[in-house]
């Protein structure tokens, strides 16, 4: 058995039969995971448990970025067995979130888990604790004090609770407690019957990433339904995803300028976001791209007039963006607040399994567009932007460079689009017949990072399990580490520089 699992490879968005997923013992599962993560480019993209009549099935999706491969393996915990097993997170910390989720939902005891705490207080938690009963880390000392912030924050943002342990103004430790936004997304994915309902839930997992999550859902369904879509649609979807990235990155640069009291940057970057989201609205009627991405076709076909408007918008945007970005990143008063603040190292990123922007700003080359390309990225020679310094400056500069890169790639995509623009695009079907007893996994690189959706169908082709992973679930730990030994007044700019998702984490 061990020999043939080595060849069990799957690719982003291509479904496999459930029978093809190797069933291992816990020891074998641990060994396989250890082998994968021992490689510098290996990481676990999703790990979760499914309850069925037989007991619990654990599924691990492992990826190697350099070899562009994905492997899926599984393991059973029979109903009668004791729900107890050695924690993978004991040796490999990125699993701490996965195991906390499994423990919270199914009561599995992971012994030697380094941080065994509730993750999001879902409605179906087995621990029965309320959200205000989170066991915070405490240090008893007369020298130290605690500061609690949230769940409701000063700005117009989502809720989360931050607990600082401070020595004077210095933060010794920050613990982030989430779960406030829990809406039961994964349950609703099964409860809501129609394809469109599921699609709209996917777009609402994180409304600022409607394209990223919508595309992950769409690729997943198309893989399960064995649907080939025209190259033209693939190109158009990637254009939409890059526009989402440009818009949010630009808005974040505005917010970062606000936090360091650079009024001009705040206003100009803020105003620059508007033409980008207004373009998306002129395409699909919604500034966030809700409704644009649908499995099996498109309701909003990209036409020549949109192409012309997009080119015009980008030309104008580019000039204005360059002027304000050049000024911002040469201004001593801004750099003094960005540089060497909230620093995390490559080693730390690898330790907590950072993905997306958080990985790339500290020297870790991790980007789905490069490692597991789908849609339009298959036709590009994609090269991610990677910075080294890991501070607020790196996170700000990465946004600037990625905006410039996205503009360049949109232009490349538009060139490819010209060759495909005569292809016919269908309206999205109301129903898509999915393959029975199949598993699929789909990844996209949203502006925050690696999004992964996976699903399993039963013998009738109905979805019986749906799993969502937003990149923020890994990256919140990065913010907690970045705050160590900083002044507490540096928290807002650090929080903004990460700009992680609360609802994507809480589901």
């Amino acid at each position: 058995m061990m020999e043939n699992i080595i060849n069990e490879l799957t690719t982003n968005g291509q479904s496999v039969s459930i029978d093809q997923i190797p069933k291992l013992s816990f020891e074998e599962l641990h060994d396989e995971i250890e082998k994968c993560v021992a490689e510098p480019d290996g990481h676990c993209i999703s790990y979760y448990a499914i309850q069925n009549e037989k007991g619990l099935t654990f599924i691990a999706c492992l990826a190697n970025d350099e070899s562009h491969s994905i492997r899926v393996i599984s393991c059973e915990m029979k109903a009668g067995e004791k729900k107890k097993t050695l924690a993978i997170s004991k040796n490999h910390f990125p699993f701490h979130v996965y195991e906390r989720e499994i423990s919270e939902n199914f009561g599995v005891d992971f012994f030697w888990h380094p941080w065994p705490k509730p993750l999001r207080f879902p409605y179906n938690a087995v621990h029965g604790r309320e959200i205000n009963e989170y066991p915070f880390y405490r240090i008893s000392s007369e020298e130290l004090h605690e500061v609690g912030v949230g769940p409701i924050h000063a700005g117009v943002i989502e809720p989360g609770h931050f607990r600082f342990i401070c020595n004077g103004e210095m933060v010794l430790h920050l613990e982030i407690q989430l779960g406030w936004q829990h809406r039961g997304v994964e349950t609703l994915m099964l409860q809501k019957a129609t394809l469109l309902q599921k699609n709209i839930i996917a777009e609402s997992i994180a409304g600022d990433t409607a394209i990223g999550h919508g595309l992950a859902f769409t690729q997943l369904i198309e893989g399960l339904g064995d649907i080939r879509i025209p190259k033209r649609v693939e190109i158009e979807r990637s254009i939409a995803l890059e526009l989402e990235r440009i818009a949010i990155h630009t808005g974040d640069l505005s917010a970062l300028c606000t936090d360091v009291a650079y009024q001009l940057g705040s206003s100009v970057f803020g105003a620059l976001r508007t033409p980008v989201i207004n373009f998306t609205q002129s395409w699909c009627g919604n500034r966030f791209g809700k409704g644009l991405i649908r499995p099996g076709g498109s309701n909003y076909i990209f036409r020549e007039n949109l192409r012309d408007n997009l080119n015009k918008m980008l030309d104008d945007f580019e000039v204005r963006f360059k002027a304000i970005a050049d000024r911002t990143f040469n201004l001593d008063s801004v750099l003094g607040r960005f540089e060497k603040i909230g620093h995390i190292t490559e080693k730390q990123v690898r330790m907590f399994g950072g993905v997306g922007m958080v990985a790339r700003m500290a020297g870790v080359r991790r980007d789905v567009r490069w490692s597991h390309p789908s849609s339009g990225y298959q036709y590009l020679d994609f090269d991610p932007v990677v910075l080294e310094s890991g501070d607020v400056m790196a996170r700000a500069l990465l946004r600037k460079l990625e905006v410039e890169q996205s503009i360049a790639y949109i232009r490349d995509l538009l060139t490819i689009w010209e060759e495909t623009k005569d292809q016919n695009i269908d309206s999205p079907p109301i129903n898509i017949k999915l393959k029975p007893n199949a598993f699929n996994l789909s990844m996209t690189e949203g502006w925050r990072g690696e999004i992964c959706h996976s699903a399993i169908t039963d013998e009738k082709g109905e979805i019986v399990h749906y799993k969502v992973k937003d990149p923020s679930i890994h990256n919140w730990m990065g913010l907690a580490l970045a705050l160590r030994n900083l002044e507490i007044s540096d928290f807002p700019i650090n929080n903004k520089s990460f700009d992680l998702s609360y609802c994507g984490h809480d589901l």
């Binding site: 117009v156 409304g207 508007t274 409704g291 204005r320």
Partner: protein, 252 residues
């Protein structure tokens, strides 16, 4: 200094001069229109949020996720116009019938007396996201940016409920946020406004019926303004609030 002048030159005038008359270009999905007297071929289960009532031939934009599916399938029956003036204080006014044409209006008789005159020149709001997906939150944030500049009317979001005249709720109200929302609302001094922004807040939207929600907050507090949309457009929000706090002028 020179580069800053150049940037300011490029930046130009960004603000929308007349918020009250501003329009959002098509294909923005604003107020829907139902064709009068035609067949109503839309099947019951087409609408993902159950906003369409096929026997009464209505669409409830407090429940609508604005996906536009009904329009794509049955363009002869339902059409989304680009009219963004959909905010109202009357929940029933969000149920669009065949006869509805033109903007949704505020019902002046439902405006509480203490609101009229008190908040007309200055209104400070505390926003609470209770399971919101961050799109409505971003649009509320955009209300104060250089384009929409809600601050010109004296309307602002503030950090503390103690500084606020009202609460704006986004999201379907998750069970985990229900207590915090109640505490925040209680902390605002009377008289105070309660505004629901977005389909999720008004009806639960696509999340309606989820076991992870607790919407009992809305049973015990009167809602002063409903702002539909997924997410609500800044112009819908700002105009809705102006209609509400200037409703005395509105009545003439």
């Amino acid at each position: 200094m020179l580069s800053e002048i150049k940037i300011l030159g490029q930046h130009g005038k960004q603000y929308i001069p007349d918020i009250r008359k501003a329009e959002v270009p098509s294909p923005f999905r604003g107020l829907p229109e139902i064709t009068k007297g035609s067949d109503f071929p839309i099947p019951e289960d087409l609408c993902p949020t159950g906003a369409i009532n096929t026997s009464l031939r209505t669409i409830d934009i407090g429940m609508c996720s604005f996906c536009g599916e009904c329009e794509h399938r049955f363009p002869e029956t339902i059409r989304f116009t680009n009219n963004h003036r959909t905010a109202t204080n009357d929940r029933n006014a969000l149920i669009i019938t065949e006869d509805q044409r033109g903007s949704i209006e505020l019902n002046p008789s439902l405006v509480r007396k203490e609101i009229i005159g008190v908040f007309g020149r200055s209104l400070k709001l505390r926003q609470v996201s209770a399971g919101g997906d961050n799109s409505a939150e971003l649009e509320l944030g955009a209300c104060g940016n250089v384009n929409f500049d809600m601050g010109r009317f004296g309307i602002e979001f503030v950090a503390s409920p103690r500084h606020a005249d009202g609460v704006v709720v986004t999201g379907p109200i998750s069970k985990n946020m229900s207590t915090a929302l109640e505490i925040c609302y209680t902390a605002v001094a009377d008289p105070k406004l309660l505004i629901l922004a977005g389909t999720d807040a008004i009806s639960g939207g696509i999340f309606a019926g989820s076991p992870a929600l607790d919407r009992s907050f809305l049973e015990s507090h009167k809602v002063d303004l409903y702002v539909p949309g997924n997410p609500p457009h800044p112009l819908t929000f700002i105009n809705g609030i102006l209609d509400l706090i200037q409703s005395k002028k509105h009545q003439k």
